[in-house]
Every structure is written in C-alpha cells, then in structure tokens.
C-alpha cells in the first residue's frame, strides 16, 4: 500500500495549538454542561485568536521568496557558511519567518541535517540575509535543499509551511594534510632509482633562470632578498635544472566485508594523503599527474598539474568510495599504460600488497614495460604507521 505523499505547502496545527484546542474543548464542554455563558464567551475569545493565527500565517508566506548562496566546494574540516536570503514582495510585514534548509550527504551514509535561519521581521519590499555555518568533517557530495519556509506568528498555534525547490550541491574535498620531508626524500630516491644521485656542489642546483614566488619547502638560501624587500613578499631564485617529477598516484581503497570504522579510517587516510599530494603537485605545476583509484570501481584522472586538474582530482577524491572487490590489478594495468616510463609511481593501499604476485598481476608481469615500471613503485600501506612518515594529518 503506497503512502500518500505529504503536501509540501500546508497549514498545520502546532503542538501548542493542539493543547490550546484541548483547553478550548474543555471550556466549551464545561460551558455547555454547566450552562455557563461566560465560559462560552471565553471560548469565543479563544477561537478568535486561533482563527486569526491561521489567517495570518496563511497570508504571511504568500509573498516571501527565498534563495540560498552556498559555496560549490569546500575542504573537509573548513567552515561552511551558507547564506539564506528572504525577500518580502508583499505589502504587509512578515514576522518570525523561519527558513529551514536540508543538508544531505549524497555520497555516503545519507546523513541529513536540517539547519535553519530565522528572520524576525521582514518588511515589505525588504530583502534580508541570514546565514548558518558549521564544520563538515567528512568529504563527499552534499545536497542542499529544498528550502522550507515556516511561520507560526503571532501566537504559535498554527504553522504554515511553504516549500521552495531551491536545490544546490556542495562538494566537500578530502582534508588536506602536510607532507613531511621524508616524502620528498623518498620521492627523489624513487625518481633517481638505481642512478647515482649527482650531488650538486655549492649552494645552488643549476644556473639562475628566473625569480618566482616562495613555495613551501623552498630553502631559505634561495630567497632573493632584494626583490623580496621590493615586492613585500618572499621571492626565490629559480634555476635551469628544475626537476619535474611526473607522478602517478594510485589508490587501492579496499575494505573487507563487514568493514569497521578502522577500515574506513584507513580509506580516509589514504584519500586525504592523496589529496595532499595532488594539492602540492598542482601548486608546484610543471609536471604531469595521474590519479587512479580502485575502490568500488576504477577511475583515473590525469593531466598537467594545474588548478584545473586540482579541481578535477579533488572532486574525484571527494566522491571516491571504497570497495570490497579487488580492482587493483585493473587499475595498475590501466595506469601503467598511460604513464611515461620516467614517471614516479606511488601506490597507496589500505592493505598490504605483494606486487610480485605473478598470478594476481599476471598481465602486468607479462608486459616488459609494465614490469619495469612496476618494479619501481613506491608502495605505502595506509593501514600501518608508514603513511605517517610521509604525511601529517590535520
């Protein structure tokens, strides 16, 4: 049997209204049974406000228009501020207008919150803005809307609800942590592979090429003090022999059947670590980046490290979900086909992996190119403490 859908725009009696009606009924019954005219008069004096409350709430919201202003994306853990605007297009003042929003997590467990704002008074032809704010701790896609406008003014006995289909979506990116120096060292050693690292003599690595903004991790010795003083911001010297690390970052987001919070924690750590690496790479630029995930499915995002790729990759990471199936082999196969030979390969997995397993990764081991690349993969196990060597969660 299908349940009849509730009307979106409706007028209902509040809990206080039902109490009020109960008292009214009691008074009327007493008046009729005991023949007390004054109680009938009191009943009439109670019925009047009830009626007026109904009429006022019905009229108050007739000309109220609402809109929402929300960021399209934020990073998990950062403050979310959503502005609600209400405009009174009518000729009478509306009082105690409440606008309730609905925030639903689309990606994960369907967590729903109904935050709201209150407009105590909206004069005719007036537009007011109120906001609600908070911290969204988990990444994912969140749906906003619809906006539910209610009022109970003046007596709180009758409530009028009008639903405005104003819908938005917020993408909450994974948390960005901090990469440790060990990460850079490890990445460099991976890049050089078996080649001996030629230590550069002197202070600088190569010839002076240009000046650029200071980036996190730059040595203080590279700062060009005169330009820094003139520009008012730290500037460093850039050399000809910049190393451009092309990176393929692969995530194996596997969880067992009946996974626990600890399993999900590993997944989130892996995703957050990946987001941090991607963010760092895209800020540096001048390199190629491939991001591949194997969770519920396999997805790959690639391109030159840039702001555009950062957005794309973060959206990818915001929505990626873990899976119980083993999709790593497919991910490796697809990714290794797309990356150049000199590209650094980092595989972050939520469980220990043996890449020398010829049965499991038979297709890769049969391909000499892939085989050579697979041999230089940097494997990071997110379920162990190793990940914290390279990454500091915030």
């Amino acid at each position: 049997m299908s349940r009849r859908p509730r009307r979106q725009n409706r007028t209902t009696i509040t809990l206080e209204g039902w109490y009020f009606l109960g008292i009214m009924g009691f008074i009327l019954a007493g008046a009729l049974l005991r023949h007390m005219n004054l109680l009938i008069l009191l009943f009439g004096l109670m019925l009047g406000p009830m009626y007026v409350n109904w009429r006022i709430v019905a009229h108050s919201l007739r000309k109220i228009r609402v809109s929402r202003s929300a960021p399209s994306s934020i990073v998990a853990g950062e403050k979310l501020v959503v502005d609600i605007k209400a405009t009174n297009e009518g000729k009478r003042t509306s009082w105690a207008v409440r606008v309730d929003d609905k925030l639903t997590s689309v990606s994960f467990n369907g967590v729903t919150l109904r935050p709201g704002v209150l407009f105590s008074r909206i004069s005719p032809d007036e537009t007011l803005s109120e906001a609600y704010e908070g911290i969204v701790p988990a990444r994912g896609r969140y749906a906003l809307g619809p906006l539910k406008v209610t009022t109970r003014f003046p007596l709180g006995l009758v409530r009028r609800t009008v639903v405005h289909q104003v819908n938005d979506e917020i993408i909450v990116y994974p948390r960005i942590g901090q990469l440790t120096p060990a990460w850079k060292e490890r990445l460099q050693s991976t890049y050089h592979g078996s080649r001996p690292v030629k230590r550069q003599q002197g202070l600088m690595e190569g010839d002076f090429h240009a000046l650029r903004d200071y980036r996190h991790g730059d040595s203080q010795r590279w700062i060009h003090w005169r330009t820094t003083a003139r520009r008012g911001m730290p500037m460093v010297r850039q050399f000809e022999r910049q190393r451009h690390h092309d990176l393929a970052l692969l995530l194996n987001l596997w969880v067992p059947e009946g996974y626990t919070s600890a399993d999900l924690e590993c997944v989130e750590l892996a995703v957050s670590f990946a987001a941090t690496v991607v963010s760092d790479m895209c800020q540096r630029g001048q390199s190629q980046l491939l991001l591949g995930t194997a969770g519920a499915g396999v997805a790959i995002t690639r391109g030159p490290a840039s702001r555009g790729l950062l957005t794309e990759a973060m959206e990818h990471l915001a929505a990626v979900s873990a899976g119980t199936g083993d999709n790593l082999a497919r991910l490796l196969s697809d990714a290794l086909e797309q990356v150049p030979p000199h590209c650094d390969l980092v595989l972050v997995s939520t469980r220990g992996i043996d890449l020398t397993d010829h049965e499991r990764y038979g297709d890769i081991w049969q391909d000499s190119r892939k085989q050579s690349m697979l041999s230089k993969v940097l494997l990071i196990d997110a379920s162990g403490p190793e990940i914290f060597r390279y990454y500091q969660a915030t």
Binding site: P49, I56, R98, V117, L155, A393
Partner: protein
C-alpha cells in the same frame, strides 16, 4: 528596549491583569496586589539586576509546598464550592508568584501566561459583573501582544542556542585520526537585531484583537444552548441570583453579590375595556402591578416566612362578584385582563417550583380552561404545579383601574381579618438584649414625628410619609448589588443605618417593618411591575426581570379617603350586570351578594412602593456614569449572562431563518415596490434627495478612503529613498568636489555628465603648473562617485581618508596664486616696443 525586556514587562502586565480579573470578582484585591509585588520584585531583582534567582529545583520545591498548602485548603473545604474556588485561585496566584522569581527561560514565560489564563478561566466560572467583559477585552489584547513577543523571543532563543549535530561515524577506541570523527555541526548565525525590528508589532496585535472581538460575539450567540442560560453551577453555589419572581423574600445571601436580571419571558397580558370591547388605554404603563403572593408575613433575620402550615383552601370562585364590584366601585373602570402564562421548566437543573399566578386585584369573573384557583385566605391565585408545565391562559375582570391608572387602594377580600393574622401583620423581630431594628424604628419614628400634628394618627399619611422617605429623600438608592456592611446586623437594619442601597426587596422589607413599627399592619407582596408594551395589540410582555416586591398596608375603613368610599347604587348595578356578563362572555350565574350589606365596615389595602426608580438618579456626571454602568450591567445580564435557548431562538435563530424565507422577501419586495410607487403612505419617510445625498456621500467616502490609502502607500514606499542618509553620506565627496571646483569657477553645465565635466576640468588643471599634478583627481573621484552611486560600492574608512586628502590637496592647489610669468628682458621689451 531588548526583546526579552519587553517580553518580561508584557508578561508581568498580563499576569497582573489576570489576577485583577480574578480578584475583582471575589472583591479581594489581595491577589492582584500579591501579583503586582511578585511581578515587580521578579522584574527588578531577578530579571533586571539578577540579584535573586530561584533555580529549577528550589522553584519546584517552593511550588510543591504552595500546592500542598492549597490542597489542604481544598480538602478542608471540599463541600464549600466558594472556598474551593478561592483555594484554587490562591494556588494559581502563588505558583505564578514563584515563577516570577525563577530564572527565566521560554518555558517559564509560557507557564506564567498559562497560569494567568487559568485565573481568567476560573473568573469566568464565578463572574457576574460586566466589568469582566471589559477586562477580558483588555486582557485579550495584552495576551496577544505578549504571546507575539513570546513567539519571536522563543524562536530567537532557540535559533541562538540550537545546534544541528550528527555524528558521521562512531569513533573506534584506538582511532588514529580523531579529527575524522568530528560530528557534523551546523549553527545559525543569528544577528543581533535592534529594538526597531519590533516596530509595528502592534499592527498584528490590533488586527488579532479586533477580529477576535468580532468572532467572539458571533460564537457566543450561535453556540446552541441546551437549557436556560442561568448558571446552574453558580446558582447552586449561591454566587449568582437573578431578579425573578419568587414567593420567598430574602435579604440573606453572599455578602457581596450582584443580583442579575433574567430576561426570560413569563406571561403576556392584554387589557380590554369591558364597555367598549376595545383595548383599554393604560396611561401609566410602567406602574402596572401584577399581584402574585403575600403569604410570608413573619420577618426574622433578613427572611420572610410563614408560620402556618395551612393547606390552601382552593375555591373555584371569584374574590368578589361583579355585582359587588360594580356596587363598591361604580366609578371605576371595568377592564378585562387576559393572561397567557408561559410554562415553567419542571425538570432539569433549572427546574422552577411555583404555583402562583398573577392578576390585577381586585378581580372577578375568573375564567380558565385549566385548573386555576383562588385562595381567599392568602389572597393569591394559584395553579397546581403539575399543570405548570403547559402554557396557561386565563382571564378576569378588574375594577382596579380608573382613568387609565391603577388605583392604590382596594378592599380586603374578607370582611374581617382574624386576630392572629393581624398579629402577624404587626409582628417585628425581637432580639436578645438590644432591639435588632432600633435604627430602623428610630428613623420611622423620626419620619412620622416630622408630620403635621393632624396627620400623625392618619395611617395613610404615615404610610405615604415613610414610603416617600425611602423613595424620594435621596438617602437611599437602588442597586442590584447585594452588599452588607456588618454581617452581625439585621440586613434591614444594616440597609437603613449603613448601606442605604439595595433592590426592591430591601425597600419593601424596610417599609413593611417601618409601618409595623408605627402600628400599621403591613405585608410584603411579590409579583411583577411594568412590562414591555406592544402598542399595536395593546398587550404587555412581562419578563422575569420585571419581578418586583412592594408593600400592602392595611387601612381601617374610617381612614379610607372619600373618593375611594363605596357608593352603593343598586339600580346602576342591576342595569349593568347581565349586559356586562354577556359582553364579557363570562359563564356561570351572577351570585347573590353576601357582603353587600357589610361593605362599609371592610378595611382596605393600600399599595405602597418605596423602591426608587432607576431613572430617578440625578443628572450629575457621576450619576450618568452610574447610569451607563447600569445600562452595561443590564445589557450584560440580558445578552451575555441571560442568553438562553429561548432568547437565542427569538433573537438569533428566527431572524436568521427569516433571511432564507422566500415569502418574507416577497413581502419586503412588495412593500418596497409599494413605497416606490407611492401607494403605501407608510413609507413616505423615504426621501429621494436624502438617498442621492447618502449615496454620494458613500461614494465620496469610498474614493476618499482609496485615495488616502494609495497616497499613504506611495509615501511609505518613497520614504526610504528620501531619507536614505547612507547614500547621501556616501557621495558627499562628489558634492565637495563640485563645491571646490565651483570656487575656482569650474561649473558643470546642465548638459554635462559628471564624467564629461571631470574630463574637461582635468584638461584645464593639467595646463596649470600648480594643479597639473592633480589633474587626474576629478576624473578619479568621478569614477569613484559612479561606483558608489550606481554600483552599490561602499567606501571603507581608508578610502574616505584618501578621498579627503585628495580633495584637500586639490583645494589648496586651486587656492594657490598663479606664478607670475618670468620678467621680460630689456632687449625683448625694446624689440617689442
């Protein structure tokens, strides 16, 4: 003023008003005073200063104690409903007082308002006064305003404190990344609104109040009544009494109560002149006395009662024969009185028990198809109660009128009154020790002493003097309030000595006792006086509120005035009798007159009414106010307290049903057509000129109203623009720029835009060495002006400062004198020369 402060004041006023309604009804101002003190202390010490606040635990403890004490009172007075109400009232007020000193939260305000409302509800149960209605209207407005504030306050309170929170995932005990398990928390960012945000809250309050004032009476008159409107609960508790006929005359009751007027229809009387068979023209219509009963002869402690258990000796007979009546009163008119009396409710809570019927005395020729009897010993017309559930119709002929006025004297029914009855008619209460009526007797003696010597032995003169003293001296006033000054005094004595105010039973009782104290046998009579006259039918409708009490004094034959002396005229009587009887259609035979030889020795009853008329109030301002109050009281009694099924049917349902009666509409349309064609002279009052003027005036009013409304609306919408101080202050700099340039003879033409003007000025400034460096200032400031004026850009403090600096520099540069051109060399001068 802050929202919460306003709410605190509004709730305090609401509570005071509620307890005032309660206390007013109980004539006990302690309760409202207690509420005033509690509300003031709570507002100042608890809300304003925060010096003293009861926590929820302490408040609960005090509340429980108060409740226990009140319940103890309830238990002790479980049978006394008045005391029960008093205990309940006290409980409500005490609990409210506790809440005033409690730490405030929305719930506390709500509880205070609820307790206040319960006080009003209790007042509605025990209330009688029209002041209740007035206070209720005031209370309703205050309540609506307070509840509106309360709603906004509660919404803001919840918005400011409430957080929407949901845990995304449970945190495991050995979590490596605790931040991941932070709950999803959202909170409204409520702004602090200025008090001006509450401006205009009176609008919805007034709207709500006014509509309520329309709805409440509508509900009141349409809710069907199941029985008579008299409040059986209150009547049962003795809290309410009404003016209605009863044989019992009692001045004893609650110390402070109001006697209300019951509009219930009792009977309709029609008067016909026997000789002409036309309606009898009664001149003094307000002073028609329909006599009921006078059987209570003994007065003691404020009550009249009868000490005889004698069963009435019923005679289906006339008190006097028409023949006798014609003989003893040959100059009086013969008036046939037909009475149609309404049935009494003989069951249910409003059951009335009475067997008394009403007549104009002296009467004869009684005729009825039901069981109507005359009791000659107690002089009352009766019908057994078992027959009172049906409408009774009877008629009689009276000789009590002469020239359209009812005569004050009539002969006694019996030739001689027995000595024990005379003794009862002279009896006065005796107390232990002091005379309980010493003040009353002294006043009576004083009044009689003031008579001329020759009248002091005349019972009629004495009776009239005492009647006049009570009615006309102005010392005593009529009031429906029953108030006693000293409860240990006899009520009649208390009336004469202290209160000097009361209703007809007080005046009748006091007059009867005064007459007795002067040796004149007297008794109190109850019946009806006056009525609502229908001039077309000549009938008189008597309602319960026409019930009245007056006095009959027994006058010995020798003191009866000559014009009332019987004048035997057998010839006239003989010629009169049969024709009269045929004309009247009276059945039965004309009996022989037993008393005709003895009429000369018979005594007479003198009717005395000491009750002052309410219209007799002197026309002072205060009396006019009193009169208005009385009018309100009567209306309140008639239309609010007195609303019963009959009234509702007559005044509400029937007229409403007539709206849908096609025949009535046809008749109305027929009348209108007749009036328009001039065929019906009764509608000549309709004036076409007046109609045109009225129609024009209505049109004028309508258009005037609409014009005024649209003007106000336009003014309201224009007002923010004209008073927008923000935009003026934001573009001040451009005005100053134009002012500075104007001082340097740069004037913007009317055809120039600001930008064109700035460019032109900039070009000129660039050519001057002193202003060349500032040539771009007008253009820059104009660009800024455009952004502010049309781009909704608001300037920061630093921008303001920079603008001011530039303007100052420009002003200084423009004020600097132009450098002199370099001096010409003598060779050049010579060459030029």
């Amino acid at each position: 003023m802050k929202l919460e402060r306003r709410l605190q004041i509004a709730v305090a006023i609401l509570a005071i008003c509620g307890s005032l309604i309660l206390g007013w009804e109980k004539y006990d101002l302690r309760l409202p005073l207690l509420t005033v003190v509690a509300a003031t202390v709570g507002f100042v010490l608890t809300d304003l200063k925060g010096w003293f606040q009861l926590g929820s635990g302490a408040a609960g403890l005090v509340g429980l104690t108060v409740t226990a004490l009140a319940l103890r009172d309830v238990y002790r007075n479980i049978d006394d409903k008045q005391a029960l109400f008093l205990a309940l009232s006290n409980l409500l007020v005490y609990l409210q007082a506790v809440l005033f000193v409690r730490q405030k939260a929305p719930r506390v305000y709500g509880m205070i308002a609820l307790l206040s409302f319960l006080q009003v509800a209790v007042s509605a149960v025990i209330s009688l006064s029209p002041l209740f209605g007035g206070l209720m209207v005031l209370y309703m407005f205050i309540a609506v305003y307070a509840l509106s504030l309360f709603l906004i306050y509660r919404e803001e309170y919840e918005q400011a404190r409430f957080k929407w929170q949901r845990n995304v995932a449970p945190q495991p005990p050995n979590a490596r990344w605790p931040l991941l398990y932070q709950p999803l928390v959202l909170q409204g960012r409520q702004k602090r609104h200025a008090a001006s945000r509450l401006r205009g809250l009176w609008g919805p309050t007034m709207r709500t109040g006014l509509i309520t004032l329309l709805v409440a009476p509508l509900v009141f008159v349409t809710v069907p009544r199941t029985s008579s409107s008299r409040d059986s609960w209150s009547a049962g508790t003795g809290l309410q009494s009404t003016i209605a006929f009863t044989e019992d005359v009692s001045l004893v009751g609650d110390e402070f109560t109001q006697v209300l007027q019951d509009p219930e229809k009792v009977f309709v009387a029609r008067f016909r002149d026997v000789r002409t068979a036309q309606n009898y023209p009664i001149l003094d219509r307000d002073n028609i006395y329909f006599r009921g009963s006078s059987r209570r002869l003994i007065y003691r402690n404020g009550e009249w009662y009868s000490d005889s258990d004698r069963l009435p000796q019923l005679e289906h007979a006339d008190p006097i024969s028409p023949f006798e009546a014609a003989q003893v009163s040959p100059t009086n008119d013969l008036v046939a009185v037909g009475i149609e009396i309404e049935p009494l409710p003989t069951h249910g809570p409003l059951r009335k028990v009475s067997d008394v019927l009403f007549a104009i005395y002296p009467f004869f020729g009684l005729e009825s198809q039901t069981h109507v009897y005359f009791d000659p010993f107690e002089e009352r017309l009766i019908c057994p109660e078992v027959f009172r559930s049906e409408r009774i119709t009877y008629q009689h002929v009276t000789t009590g009128f002469r020239s359209g006025q009812q005569l004050p004297l009539r002969w006694t029914t019996r030739t001689e009154l027995p000595p024990d009855e005379i003794r009862d008619l002279l009896s006065l209460p005796e107390g232990f020790g002091e005379d309980p009526l010493r003040g009353l007797k002294a006043v009576a003696a004083e009044v009689v002493a003031a008579l001329p010597e020759e009248e002091r032995n005349d019972p009629i003169a004495k009776a009239r003097a005492l009647e006049s003293h009570l009615r006309d001296s102005g010392i005593y006033s009529y009031s429906l309030s029953r108030r006693r000054s000293k409860s240990d005094l006899d009520p009649a004595e208390d009336f004469v000595v202290n209160t000097k105010s009361g209703h007809c039973e007080y005046f009748a009782t006091v007059l009867a006792l005064m007459l007795r104290s002067q040796g004149i046998p007297a008794r109190v009579v109850t019946g009806y006086k006056g009525g609502e006259w229908d001039f077309e039918t000549g009938s008189c409708l008597i309602r319960q509120w026409h019930a009245h009490a007056w006095v009959e004094a027994l006058i010995p034959p020798e003191y009866v005035p000559p014009e009332f002396q019987p004048r035997p005229d057998r010839a006239w009587a003989t010629s009169f009798s049969r024709r009269t009887r045929r004309a009247l259609g009276l059945s039965g035979r004309l009996r022989s007159n037993r008393w005709v030889e003895n009429y000369g020795v018979r005594s007479a009853w003198l009717r005395l009414d000491a009750t002052p008329g309410r219209a007799d109030l002197t026309a002072t301002t205060w009396s006019q106010v009193q009169h208005i109050g009385d009018m309100a009281e009567v209306l309140w009694s008639q239309y609010v307290l007195g609303m019963n099924p009959q009234t509702q049917r007559e005044r509400i349902y029937t007229p409403f049903a007539e709206l849908f009666d096609a025949h009535a509409w046809n008749m109305w349309w027929h009348d209108v057509k007749a009036s328009l064609s001039g065929a019906d002279s009764s509608y000549r009052w309709i004036s076409w000129q007046a109609g045109v003027v009225a129609f024009g005036a209505q049109l004028l009013l309508l258009f005037g109203y609409r014009g005024l409304r649209s003007w106000l609306r336009r003014k309201r919408t224009r007002a923010p623009e004209s008073t927008s101080t923000t935009s003026l202050s934001e573009i001040y700099f451009y005005r100053r720029l134009e002012q500075i340039l104007a001082e340097a003879d740069f004037h913007r033409r009317r055809t120039q835009t600001q930008r064109e003007f700035a460019l032109a000025v900039g070009a000129d400034l660039a050519e001057r060495p002193t202003t060349a460096a500032l040539a771009s200032v007008p253009r820059r400031l104009t660009e800024l002006f455009y952004r502010v004026r049309f781009g909704c850009h608001s300037l920061s403090e630093s921008e303001h400062a920079a603008i001011d600096q530039q303007l100052d520099a420009l002003q200084r540069a423009l004020n600097e004198p132009e450098p002199m051109p370099p001096a010409q060399q003598p060779e050049e001068l010579a060459a030029s020369g």
